[in-house]
């Protein structure tokens, strides 16, 4: 819905993502704020945003394959692992620079994703979800039992550098990660307005009708998996060079489930929903993790470990309560809020 008094007077305005000068002002000031953030933000907040952004990239990919194309995938953590390992191997073993390894690891993860997405040609729904869980375990197992991945020892990639300038702190990596997130978000937002995006949505809403209309199901399903895993691979590469240690234990099924949780809580089929979902789960996680020592201190008879399990209970319950009261996700709430302020001062 357009805000009051805003009309599309030309075609360019009609297809624009950003329509009003207020929009532009908010966007530009937000970007400036974001890029200046390391100058005054606390170290913890910066490192938190880094991890947040990596999750956002992963969930953006998930949004494309699950939210838009309707193919539920629990393999995102494994594809992230593929990206992380590819990037590490390329930079360590072959001396390729990080800047080339970043897209290459996305492509590699995408290629594995096409194999992983192959079952989607035969099955859908929960069966497909379970197949992707199986793929997760197979991928992790293969990584662990290969020589080139450093097997159980893992790999130690170096932080990226450009002309002798090392991105070796969280503040410096922040610029790379935030830039990648902005590009990836822009790409995802636009992809959904293109022919490809519409084909995805057609497959999600009714695959039979889509096929009748000339959407090549096989091609577009695999393409969705490729794009989604490309996102995961890029995120994995960033993760590898941020943490500088890659180990198969970093990518577990619980992470994959958490990513799907972020998607649902944020809202399926909405790009802003990705941001809401990731923020919600990550902040909940941090709150739970960091209040438990305080809880242990406030209630000394309890001790640290029971406080930690209380945190686990709180996390589960918060997610459950959320699903009961807002199963359509935060994006839905956001839409309601947006339409109400756009209509202001009118009621309808």
């Amino acid at each position: 819905m357009r805000p009051c008094g805003v009309f599309d007077k030309s075609y360019a305005l009609d297809i624009a993502i950003i329509r009003t000068w207020q929009h532009w002002a908010v966007l530009i000031s937000a970007l400036v704020f974001l890029y200046l953030f390391p100058l005054f933000g606390s170290y913890y907040l910066i490192s938190f945003i880094n991890l947040l952004c990596i999750s956002i990239i992963v969930v953006l990919g998930l949004q494309i394959v699950s939210g838009f194309c309707g193919q539920i995938s629990f393999g995102q953590a494994a594809f992230m692992a593929v990206g992380a390992y590819t990037s590490s191997i390329l930079t360590i073993r072959y001396g390729i620079s990080f800047w080339l390894a970043l897209p290459l690891s996305g492509i590699m993860a995408g290629a594995v994703g096409i194999i992983g997405g192959a079952p989607s040609l035969r099955i859908k729904g929960m069966y497909l979800a379970m197949a992707t869980i199986a793929i997760h375990f197979v991928v992790i197992w293969v990584i662990l039992h290969m020589e080139i991945t450093g097997s159980f020892k893992g790999l130690y990639p170096m932080p990226p550098s450009i002309g002798g300038f090392e991105f070796d702190t969280d503040e410096r990596m922040f610029y790379i990660i935030v830039s990648v997130v902005i590009i990836m978000t822009y790409a995802a937002r636009n992809l959904m307005r293109s022919k490809v995006g519409r084909a995805f949505v057609a497959i999600r809403d009714n695959d039979l009708a889509g096929e009748v209309m000339g959407v090549n199901l096989y091609y577009y399903k695999l393409l969705a998996f490729f794009i989604s895993c490309f996102y995961a691979g890029v995120a994995g590469s960033l993760w590898a060079h941020l943490i500088t240690v890659v180990n198969a234990e970093q990518f577990t099924l619980l992470h994959a489930l958490e990513y799907v949780g972020m998607l649902i809580i944020g809202g399926m089929g909405s790009i802003p929903g990705v941001f809401f979902g990731v923020l919600f789960i990550r902040i909940l996680n941090e709150l739970v993790m960091f209040t438990s020592p305080a809880l242990a201190k406030a209630l000394p008879w309890m001790g640290s470990s029971p406080a930690a399990s209380l945190g686990l209970i709180a996390f589960g319950l918060a997610m459950a309560v959320f699903l009961i009261f807002e199963p359509r996700g935060l994006a839905h709430r956001w839409e309601i809020f947006k339409s109400s302020y756009r209509l202001y001062p009118f009621a309808h």
Binding site: Y44, D168, L254, F290, S292, P293, S304, A308, E326, R333
Partner: protein, 403 residues
């Protein structure tokens, strides 16, 4: 409905924030960060160990702290998850006077070690030989896994000779299919070769495997005289249970490393575990139960001795090292300038520190990252863990492997 939810959420946030705020204090304070797995696969080890440490710190603080400086214990539940641990470390990195980080799990230890080096802080990890091979800011709790495993192999040779058998013993090894499970062999395998032991191809299985019959029968068929069961308890207990059900305990001697069965598990599976040999760098079983220093603290904070877990004592020994290191660091710089770097230096000067016999004398030095260099060999006898040797020096197996 939405409004009520909003109020609920705000309330939760406010409570959380006020809890966080309440932790700020004005006293002279130093911090100890424990990145432990309280709710994951190795919780059975972490929870009692950190309990011991927490109670020890409470005791120290109640007596006025170390030269007037109180110790703050921060326990973070990582759930065996590297991302969580790294995030937690970054959150607490700037805590004033965070002097030591204890990272429990091989994966977490390796990931945090990098950051520790960069921040010039100090870290404790369980027993990865890698950190002894490449000397850095990471200290081990006791001997490295491979060193302790080599000590077990030494004992196996002694036992073999004592039984008057000729030839060389055949040793099998089975453990978790993860970095921890494979660490013992990096050096341990070379040591076995040096001793002339016939070492069978190792067996690996996922944590949480229901039955271990396949692996045990394969090792038995290959003629194993000794089987070393790895993994953190209850895995070794379950492995030996399966071995007992297969009738292997009669002919094969089972050994475990220091995460082997504790007195709690042995109470129930006394029959199956009878005769199991445990190599441990901290006091177990009857030894720990007869150590008044440990039991007094347990009784004071935890009550009855029924649920006493020996790992509790190990946690206390971390506290002792920390207090001794803090004293040294305070002496050299005073409270105002105290940094983790001073603690790192102080730890290296703790060589020979006695720990009430919970653990052997401290072996930290500029050239060593080992918490101690001695182990005791225990055996399960009539449902009790009794020592069969005194403290024995561990061989240097780390040095045999190229890392």
């Amino acid at each position: 409905m939405g409004k009520r939810l909003g109020i609920l959420f705000t309330m939760v946030v406010v409570i959380c924030l006020s809890l966080t705020m309440s932790t700020f204090g004005a006293e002279k304070e130093v911090a100890y960060l424990s990145l432990a797995d309280y709710t994951g696969p190795i919780a059975g080890l972490n929870v009692p160990a950190d309990m011991g440490l927490e109670d020890f710190i409470k005791e120290v603080n109640a007596k006025g702290g170390v030269d007037g400086v109180k110790i703050k214990f921060i326990g973070i539940d990582t759930r065996y998850d590297v991302a969580r641990a790294v995030s937690a470390y970054k959150r607490y990195r700037r805590t004033p006077r965070l002097l030591m980080v204890n990272s429990i799990s091989t994966g977490i230890g390796k990931a945090v070690a990098r950051l520790i080096e960069r921040d010039k802080k100090a870290q404790l990890v369980p027993g990865d030989g890698e950190f002894q091979a490449h000397i850095g800011r990471t200290f081990l709790w006791g001997p490295a896994y491979q060193d302790a495993f080599a000590a077990t192999l030494d004992w196996i040779m002694d036992d073999w000779k004592k039984k008057g058998k000729s030839g060389t013993p055949v040793v099998g090894y089975l453990s978790w299919d993860n970095p921890y499970g494979r660490e013992h062999l990096r050096g341990g395998k070379e040591y076995a070769e040096k001793l002339g032991i016939k070492f069978l191809p190792p067996e690996f299985f996922p944590p949480g495997t229901l039955k271990h019959d396949v692996y045990l029968t394969r090792l038995a068929k290959a003629g194993a005289d000794y089987i070393h069961a790895g993994g953190v308890d209850p895995t070794p207990t379950n492995v030996i249970r399966d071995g007992h059900a297969l009738g292997l305990t009669k002919t094969i001697q089972f050994t475990t490393d220091y995460w082997g069965p504790t007195a709690l598990g042995i109470g129930v599976h006394a029959e199956a575990l009878e005769g199991t040999v445990i190599t441990s760098f901290y006091e177990r079983g009857e030894d720990a139960r007869n150590n008044p220093f440990v039991t007094d603290q347990w009784k004071k904070y935890r009550g009855s001795m029924d649920k006493f877990n020996e790992v509790y004592g190990m946690g206390m020994s971390w506290g002792m090292t920390y207090v001794a290191g803090l004293k040294k660091a305070l002496k050299t710089t005073g409270y105002d300038n105290l940094k983790a770097n001073h603690m790192y230096k102080a730890y290296q000067e703790l060589t020979g520190l006695k720990k009430h016999d919970i653990q052997g004398p401290c072996a930290y030095s500029p050239k060593s990252r080992l918490g101690s260099k001695v182990v005791k060999i225990y055996r399960v006898k009539d449902g009790k863990i009794v020592p069969i040797t005194g403290w024995r020096e561990v061989p240097n197996a780390v040095g045999l492997h190229t890392f």
